[in-house]
């Protein structure tokens, strides 16, 4: 095969997974029993392209299974079958199954699941009920389609049987090349080379069917080869070599008894040959491609992103302007004397350059931005399934789906969100009976809302359920020793308790929630993205989780500070204020810990130079500056020598070439080319041991 299909498989996987998402969201929109024909069409199209693609790449299992779906959908589309809730269920389950299949293929593993058999049976049963009469038109409509695949349900089992027979066998292949084969750019030698990789190959060229010399057209191929191949590869693998030429060439495959020599002139017809000619080629195209599937898995790790052409056009425009500005500056630079005029245009040029660079930077960042609907889309299904499982009626409302968010942030925020929504379903929303008893509508409501606020994206997860049971939480916390028996806590403090490790109020551990690993992991994951999560809850009315995240992880507004002779960057968002503190307001708690009094508050002070082992100018609090920063909603003072400039910095990884450094979240390059390290405030607080003392205090 002279085209390496594997380079396209990654695209196929991505498109198929997207197709599955489309199918899923459309399926959830379906109304039974009178579905919107447009919705059915969309689902059908998605299923159809998955089938076509998987057949082209030889993922038989996927193609075969999708075919069942497609047949059912086709009948519904043509109005020959009525849509039932059962169908909807089956189709949704199939989407899950297909997703698992694709994921297994991507990982290069074989996929086996009893669920598949079960679903296939359900489909076959369903299809056979009415379709007995309909079979003929069904087939006709099938062949009209330009589908690359035509797989019958028995195909899979056939393949498996033949595969077992084929191991370690000898094949004779008669290959009559089509006259046009060379013009089409197919080189038989490449195909033979590929065959030779599969096993031991003998090629012979019987001199027959050659035209007279006068009639010879040097560009036409009139050759006929006899190939003998000893291989362990299945027939499908051999056929795959000829995949691109089988329409134009006549190819006969014949199985020989093992290790026989090539017998001249054996007629292919004698031993019930398996012949492949044009009409059957579609079948061959669907054959399993196990080996190449594995090869793909290795390359499948690279992730890609889809960018709208608008964004790319904008980038190209900006680069164009940048080039113009550069040319202008270059011209000025070539002048021998820079007079006042030239200086003026130089300054203008530099200003333009700065503008363009900033615009370009913003546009490049835009490329990584995706609408949050990518993350939201999975929730309708989740809510439906879990709602059914729990016997609760829930309505899901999505708002602000167009809000854009960095792809890397998006990938990492989905799991915490799933957890919060599950929690709302499990603990928040009451059962219909309880709800109507409380005078609420039977159907509960969960709202996902996303919007931008400053340089952050805010995601709110609101439910109108029972709210947090503060009494129970407090009792549980006392039970677990998280709170002393005598201690009284404010409602807010009690609500914060659910973020403590090992805390769970669920009476029974279900597979939904209640394992007590939940909320603290959610909070940790969000904090790892330099975000925060807050909770507001009113008993009987519901709760709201608010997640705040930076829009991107690549750029940060930073305050440069000096500690001794070292420059550090502190994220601007976490700075409240910076001030000089008189020694009268400094209280020493111990040799190491100090607090300062700032208005009505007492704040612990961390001496940055001490934690980082640097020599500093300001060794005592009164000598330097105290920068009041936020550490998980608590104020902490950092002692530094001096504040320098504020600037946007591009975050570079320190881990790529070195290792994770405590108290440092990354590095950046300053205007003069030097490297400055970015301070990780929570990390620094942990280093200073302040966290422990606070835990004890709470």
């Amino acid at each position: 095969m002279d085209i390496d299909l594997s380079q396209f498989t990654q695209v196929f996987f991505e498109e198929s997974l997207e197709g599955l998402e489309v199918m899923e969201s459309e399926l959830l929109k379906l109304t039974v029993p009178q579905p919107d024909p447009e919705t059915i069409n969309t689902i059908f199209r998605a299923a159809h392209s998955i089938k076509g693609g998987s057949a082209t790449f030889g993922f038989n299992q996927v193609a075969g299974f999708t075919h069942l779906l497609e047949t059912l959908l086709d009948e519904i589309r043509d109005g020959r079958r009525e849509m039932t809730a059962n169908h909807q269920d089956m189709l949704l389950l199939s989407v899950d199954l297909l997703r698992n299949m694709l994921q297994a293929l991507m990982a290069g593993q074989s996929f086996e699941s009893p669920q598949q058999q079960e679903l296939e049976n359900r489909f076959n049963q369903e299809l056979s009920e009415v379709a007995g009469v309909e079979e003929a038109p069904d087939n006709a409509s099938q062949s009209n389609e330009k589908s690359a695949a035509k797989v019958s349900e028995t195909k899979d089992s056939e393949t498996k049987e033949s595969e077992t027979k084929e191991t370690g066998l000898s094949w004779q292949i008669d290959f009559h090349a089509g006259a046009d084969i060379l013009r089409c750019g197919n080189d038989p030698i490449l195909m033979f080379n590929e065959l030779a990789e599969l096993g031991e190959l003998k090629v012979s060229l019987p001199a027959q069917e050659l035209p007279e010399f006068e009639d010879l057209d040097p560009e036409s191929c009139r050759l006929y080869w006899q190939l003998q191949l000893d291989t362990e590869a299945p027939l499908e693998r051999i056929k795959e070599v000829f995949e691109w030429v089988e329409d134009d060439c006549e190819i006969h495959y014949q199985q020989l008894p093992a290790k026989t020599q090539l017998v001249e002139g054996v007629s292919p017809q004698e031993q019930a040959p398996i012949s492949t000619s044009a009409p059957d080629s579609q079948g061959a195209a669907t054959t399993a491609k196990v080996e190449s599937g594995k090869a793909v898995a290795k390359t499948a790790e690279t992730s890609s992103i889809r960018v709208s052409t608008d964004k790319i056009d904008m980038l190209i425009n900006m680069v164009g302007e940048l080039v113009i500005t550069q040319a202008m500056l270059g011209q000025i630079g070539q002048q021998e004397h820079i007079d006042d005029n030239a200086l003026l245009s130089l300054q203008q040029g530099l200003e333009q350059l700065a503008n363009h660079t900033r615009d370009l930077q913003e546009s490049v960042m835009q490329i990584r931005m995706l609408p949050i609907s990518f993350a939201f889309n999975r929730f309708p299904r989740l809510v439906r399934d879990i709602g059914q499982q729990l016997g609760k009626k829930v309505e899901l409302i999505l708002k602000g789906e167009e809000t854009e968010l960095d792809k890397t942030v998006m990938e990492k925020i989905v799991d915490p969100m799933v957890h919060l929504v599950r929690n709302s379903l499990d603990h928040g929303i009451e059962s219909p009976a309880v709800r109507s008893a409380k005078g609420k509508p039977e159907t509960g409501r969960i709202t996902l809302n996303a919007f931008h606020q400053g340089g952050n994206i805010v995601i709110e997860i609101t439910d109108d359920g029972a709210g947090l049971d503060t009494g129970r939480i407090l009792a549980k916390a006392r039970d677990k020793g998280l709170v002393g028996a005598e201690e009284e806590l404010s409602t807010e403090a009690i609500q914060q308790l659910i973020f403590k490790p090992g805390f769970s109020t669920a009476d029974s551990v279900s597979d939904l929630s209640g394992r007590g690993v939940g909320m603290d992991v959610v909070r940790r994951n969000i904090q790892a993205l330099s975000g925060s999560v807050e909770l507001a809850s009113t008993p009987g009315k519901g709760s709201r989780f608010t997640i705040r995240l930076p829009l991107t992880l690549a750029i940060l507004d930073g305050q440069l500070v000096r500690v001794g002779e070292h420059t550090y960057v502190v994220p601007l968002v976490s700075i409240y204020e910076s001030l000089q503190v008189e020694s009268s307001k400094v209280n020493k708690l111990s040799e190491e810990h100090e607090v300062i009094r700032l208005r009505d508050e007492y704040l612990p002070v961390i001496r940055v130079y001490q934690e980082f082992n640097h020599l500093a100018q300001a060794k005592e609090v009164k000598e330097g500056l105290v920068m009041v920063v936020d550490n998980n909603n608590q104020k902490v003072g950092l002692l530094v020598d001096e504040l320098l400039a504020q600037q946007q910095v591009v975050i570079k990884s320190l881990e790529d070439n070195y290792a994770k450094v405590p108290g440092v979240s990354g590095a950046t390059i300053l205007g003069d080319g030097r490297v400055a390290l970015i301070v990780d405030i929570p990390g620094l607080v942990t280093m200073s041991g302040l966290n422990q003392t606070q835990e004890h205090a709470a």
Partner: protein, 183 residues
């Protein structure tokens, strides 16, 4: 990314491999030339807080943050003041799946030698306690001993350097060197 792992390529037994050698305290060391990315002069680094003393800090290498390791200190040799002739060799260190770019500070770059596998003697055995995996082998070029380093082992484990082991190893290495040279 070119794979270059001299230790495992058995097929290359008779093929000669090129090594870049450099001087440090009158000893000559060699590294596989394929892992050398560039050679540059010493420049001021940004210190990494609480890093081991032989990690001098990080520099900006055309937008990449690259840590700089003082090989003298790593080997427990007395340090010299850095001057304009101090050289940093930037190396690609291969780890399991990815690679890291790191710089090593050495006294001076010396030469490039072609050395075949058969000319390389394995490092002397210092006993069980001593991890010698970062020495690929010893070889003699023009009656001088060259210590060939396996930088993947030497710098790949940079995260957790075992200082006590290293210093003891260095002493032993110093003791053994005359013998090794006589081999």
């Amino acid at each position: 990314m070119t794979e270059s792992n001299p230790a495992t390529s058995a097929a290359a037994k008779d093929q000669s491999q090129q090594y870049l050698t450099f001087m440090m305290a009158d000893e000559e060391y060699g590294v596989d030339i394929l892992s050398v990315q560039e050679i540059r002069g010493w420049e001021a680094t940004t210190v990494i807080p609480n890093a081991p003393p032989h990690v001098k800090g990080v520099i900006n290498l055309r937008g990449t943050i690259v840590p700089i390791i003082d090989l003298r200190q790593r080997f427990g040799i007395k340090t010299l003041a850095y001057g304009p002739t101090t050289v940093v060799i930037v190396l690609k260190v291969h780890l399991d799946k990815q690679y890291k770019v790191m710089g090593i500070v050495v006294d001076a770059v010396s030469d490039v030698f072609s050395i075949t596998q058969s000319e390389i003697r394995s490092a002397p055995d210092f006993g069980q306690d001593t991890d010698m995996r970062f020495i690929h082998g010893l070889t003699c070029v023009a009656d001088k001993m060259v210590i060939l380093l396996n930088i993947n082992m030497l710098l790949g484990n940079e995260v957790l350097p075992d200082a006590s082991q290293l210093s003891s190893l260095l002493q032993q290495l110093d003791l053994e060197q005359p013998q090794a040279a006589n081999l």
